[in-house]
C-alpha cells in the first residue's frame, strides 16, 4: 500500500520544492496550492520579523502569538517553516543553498529587495539554472508606481474593484476585506503551475512579474472594453443586474438577516409569485414583463421585502428553492458554518494543528475525482522545521547548525 504522501492522486506535485519568501496573504496563498498537492513548500521568515500575518487574529489554542494565529494557519497549510535572518551575512549563502534544491522561488518584497540581498533572479539562476521565480508586487516590478505600498484592503481601489462596490447614489465602499489578495493569489498559482508545465516539457525556468493590480483587473468583466470602445465609464449598481429583476438582497426576520433572490426568467417570476402566495400586487401589469419590473424596480423590491421579512433567511431561501426560485441565504460567518452544502462538500478542514487543534480551515474550492484536496500537514509553527531543513536537506552538521544558530543566523 502506498503511503498518503506517495499517492499521486492525492499528491501530484510530490518532488516539487518551493522556497517561499512571500508574506502576508497573496503570496502564501498562491504556494498553498502547491503544498496542498504535495509540493515541499518551505515558508521562510525570521524571528525578528515574522510574517505580518503571524500577528493576525483570531488566535486559537493559546494567547496571541505567532503559533496561535488561525489567519496565518489558514493560508499556509501543508508547508514547512524555517527562520532565517536575511540581514545576517551568512544567511544569504544558506538561502542560495536552499534555492539550489528548489524548483520555485516566490517573493513579494518591495521591488529590488531580493536583488539587494543578492537573491535576485540572475543570482538565483546561477545556483539553479532552471529556477522559476515569481515576484508578486502590488504594482509590479517596473513602472513609476512600483514602489507603492499597500494591502489588498486598499489595492482593490487601484485595481478598479472598489469603484464597483456600493450604490450608484453613494460613495464606493469596496469589499471590506483585503480582496485583491484573494484574486492575485489564485492567478499567481495558475502562473507558477503553468511555468512548471513549461519547464517539465523544455527544462527551462523563467521569471514571472505579477502585479496584484494588473492580475486583479481581470475580474472587471467588460468594463475596461466599454471604456476603450464606447468611452463609457461604468459604475457600481448596488445589487441591480442589467437583465434580471428582482435581483438583490431582501430583509428577513432576525438581526441583519437577508435572503438573496435572483429572478432571471419569466418562469422564475411566476414561481416567486406563487411562493409568496400569489399576492394581488404581484399581478399588477407593470410587473408582468422584465422591462416592466426593471422600470418599477424600487416598488417591486419594497413589495417583495414585505413578504420576506416574515421569515428567517433560511426559511425564505428554503421556500423559494422549493418553488424553483433561485435564492440563497446572505450568509454570515455563523451561517457558513451551518450551511448544509459546505458541510456536504467537507469544506472545513480539521488538520490537527499542534496549537490550534481541530480549528476549521478552508479547503480549496474544488474536488479532484470527488476527493477534498487535503494537505499533508497543518501550517508550520514559526521556525518549526529549522533542524530538519538545515541539517537533513542542506546537509549542515549538527555542530555547524548549532554554531550558526548561536550566531543568530536563524533568528
Amino acid at each position: 500500500m502506498t503511503t498518503r504522501r506517495e499517492d499521486p492522486f492525492q499528491y501530484p506535485l510530490t518532488g516539487i520544492r518551493v522556497a517561499d519568501f512571500a508574506w502576508v496573504i497573496a503570496g502564501p496563498l498562491a504556494t498553498q496550492y502547491l503544498a496542498v498537492h504535495g509540493a515541499d513548500v518551505i515558508h521562510i521568515e525570521s524571528r525578528g520579523r515574522p510574517d505580518v500575518l503571524r500577528s493576525g487574529e483570531p488566535f486559537v489554542g493559546g494567547p496571541p502569538g505567532p503559533d496561535s494565529t488561525a489567519y496565518f494557519a489558514n493560508v499556509n497549510q501543508g508547508k514547512r517553516g524555517i527562520t532565517l535572518n536575511l540581514r545576517h551575512p551568512r544567511a544569504v549563502e544558506l538561502a542560495k543553498r536552499l534555492v539550489a534544491t528548489c524548483d520555485v522561488v516566490t517573493e513579494n518584497f518591495t521591488p529590488g529587495t531580493m536583488a539587494k540581498l543578492g537573491l535576485g533572479y540572475e543570482a538565483l539562476r546561477e545556483v539553479r539554472p532552471d529556477i522559476i521565480m515569481i515576484s508578486m508586487g502590488l504594482a509590479g516590478q517596473t513602472g513609476p508606481e512600483r514602489h507603492y505600498k499597500g494591502f489588498g484592503t486598499v489595492i482593490q481601489g487601484s485595481a478598479g474593484i472598489t469603484h464597483f462596490v456600493g450604490w450608484p447614489d453613494r460613495p464606493p465602499v469596496g469589499t471590506g476585506v483585503a480582496y485583491t489578495d484573494f484574486v492575485a493569489s489564485h492567478i499567481a498559482a495558475f502562473a507558477v503551475l503553468s511555468a512548471l508545465e513549461y519547464r517539465r516539457r523544455t527544462g527551462r525556468g523563467q521569471y514571472i512579474d505579477l502585479s496584484q493590480q494588473e492580475a486583479s483587473m481581470y475580474t472587471l468583466d467588460a468594463a475596461l472594453l466599454d471604456y476603450t470602445v464606447n468611452g463609457r465609464v461604468q459604475t457600481r449598481q448596488g445589487n441591480r443586474h442589467p437583465f434580471a429583476a428582482p435581483h438583490g438582497a431582501f430583509p428577513c426576520l432576525g438581526e441583519d438577516a437577508w435572503v438573496a433572490i435572483e429572478v432571471r426568467t419569466d418562469a422564475h417570476w411566476r414561481a416567486l409569485r406563487a411562493a409568496m402566495g400569489d399576492p394581488e400586487w404581484a399581478h399588477d401589469e407593470r410587473f408582468a414583463t422584465l422591462l416592466g419590473r426593471k422600470a418599477n424596480e424600487d416598488e417591486l423590491e419594497a413589495c417583495i421585502a414585505e413578504w420576506t421579512r416574515h421569515f428567517t433567511p433560511q426559511e425564505a431561501a428554503d421556500r423559494l428553492r422549493a418553488a424553483g426560485v433561485p435564492a440563497a441565504v446572505v450568509a454570515s460567518a455563523r451561517d457558513l458554518h451551518a450551511d448544509p452544502q459546505l458541510a456536504y462538500r467537507g469544506h472545513f478542514l480539521n488538520l490537527n494543528h499542534p496549537v490550534q487543534g481541530g480549528f476549521p480551515y478552508d479547503a480549496l474550492a474544488y474536488r479532484l475525482n470527488g476527493r477534498v484536496p487535503t494537505p499533508p500537514r497543518p501550517a508550520p509553527l514559526l521556525g518549526q522545521h529549522n533542524a530538519e531543513v538545515y541539517q537533513e536537506l542542506l546537509g549542515l552538521s549538527r555542530a555547524e547548525y548549532e554554531e550558526l544558530e548561536a550566531e543568530g543566523v536563524f533568528r
Binding site: P8, E57, V165, H186, S194, E214, Q234, P340, D362
Partner: protein, 414 residues
Amino acid sequence: MGDHAAPTLPLDHLRVLDLTGEYGALTGRLLAGLGADVIRVEPPGGHRTRRRGPFYRDVPHPERSLYWFQMNAGKRSITLNLHTADGRALFRRLVARAQVLIESLPVGELAEMGLGFESLLADNPRLVMTSISLYGQQGPYARDEGGDLLAMAAGGLMYLCGDRDRPPVRVTVEQGNAQASIHAAAATVIGCATSARTGRGVHVDVSMQECVAEALANNRMLWPARGMIIHRAGGSRAGGVGRRLIYPAADGYIGFYRRPENYLDLQRWIDEAGIPVGFEVGSWQGRPVSGPDAPPPELEAKLDEALERYFATRPKAELNREGQAHNLYVTEVSTPEDLVKSPHLAAREFWVPVEHPELGTTITYPGAPFKLSETPWRPGPRAPLIGEHNVEIYCGELGLSRAELATLKGAGVI
C-alpha cells in the same frame, strides 16, 4: 496542436473544449493566453453569452458583445448541437482529441445527454474535465439554479459588503464568476499534472460558493474562534476594528489604510501639508488599534474629520503620490477611465491592441495578467465569430467532407 516538438508557450500542448457560460468563461481565456488551443463549442446560432452587453458602439449583435470579446479572445469556435445524436457523436470525437474539457452547464445536464465524465473516459481515458457550478456537482443544493449573486450571498462575501443602512451588496463586476474562473484555471493545470502522473482521467469539480468563501480574509474564522459575526461597515474595514478606508477627493475617491506603523509618517504629512488637525498623532506610532492602549477613539475621529476636509480639496492622483511619498498606504479608487489613462500601466505596456477586421478597427484590451520572461502572454487573436473554425476542425481535422458538413448544417447539428 497536440504534441509540439519545440514548445513555445507553457500550455501549447493542451487542446481545451470550452462549454462554459458566465462562470468559467475566463478560465479558457487564461489557458489560451498561455498557449492552449481553446475551442468554444457553441450551439448553432451562437452561445447565449454573446447576448450580454455592453456592445461595440452600443449596437446589440452577437458579433459585437464586448463581454464576449473580453472572455473569449484567443479562442476558436465551432458550432455543435449536443441535443442531436450526430452532435454527440462528433463531440466524442472531439473529446478524444482534446486533453481538457471545461464546462459550466447546469449540473447533471451532460450526464443526462450521455456525456458525463465517466462516459467520456471511454473516448479519452486521460481526460481532465473541469466542471464549474454554483455549489459543486453533488450535495443538497447542487441542482439549484443561480449565478453570481447567489454565489456572493452563499459564499459569505456579500454579508461583508455595503453600507450599514442598506442591504448587503455584491460587486457589480461579477466576482463570483471571476473567482470561479480563476480557481478553475489553477485547478485545471493541477488536474493535468495529476493526469500526467497517473495516466488516468481527472474530474475537477469547482464550487463557486467555496471560491467566494475562501476570500473572506479572517472574517469567517472569527465565528468559530470567538463567536463573533462581522457585519458590513460601508467604506471601512470589516473585521475587529472598523478602520475607515475610503475618503472623498476633489475628483473622486481615495483609499487610505491607516495602521499602527504609520503615525510618524502621517504626522510628517500633516506638518508638511499644513493639515489643521490640532493635536499630535506621531506619538500614536505602534499603539494597538483597539483596547486600553489604543489612541483615544474621539481623537481618531477628529483626525478623520481633518483628513477628510483636506482630501476633499485635492485631486486623487496627487493624494496618491503624496501619501505614497510619505510611506502611507494611499491609493486611488480608480475608475475604468483612470486605469486606461494610468501612466503606470502605460509604462508597463499593459494595454495591447487587438485587431477586429470585421469591424474595421483595432480595440485596446487589457494585456497580460502577469509577465512571463520566456513565454509572452498571447493577447489575441480577437474572440471567434460564431462557428468560425467549423471547416478547419470538422473537415480539416475530423475528415468530414464539405457535403457532410452541409448535411449537418441543414439538420441543425452545426
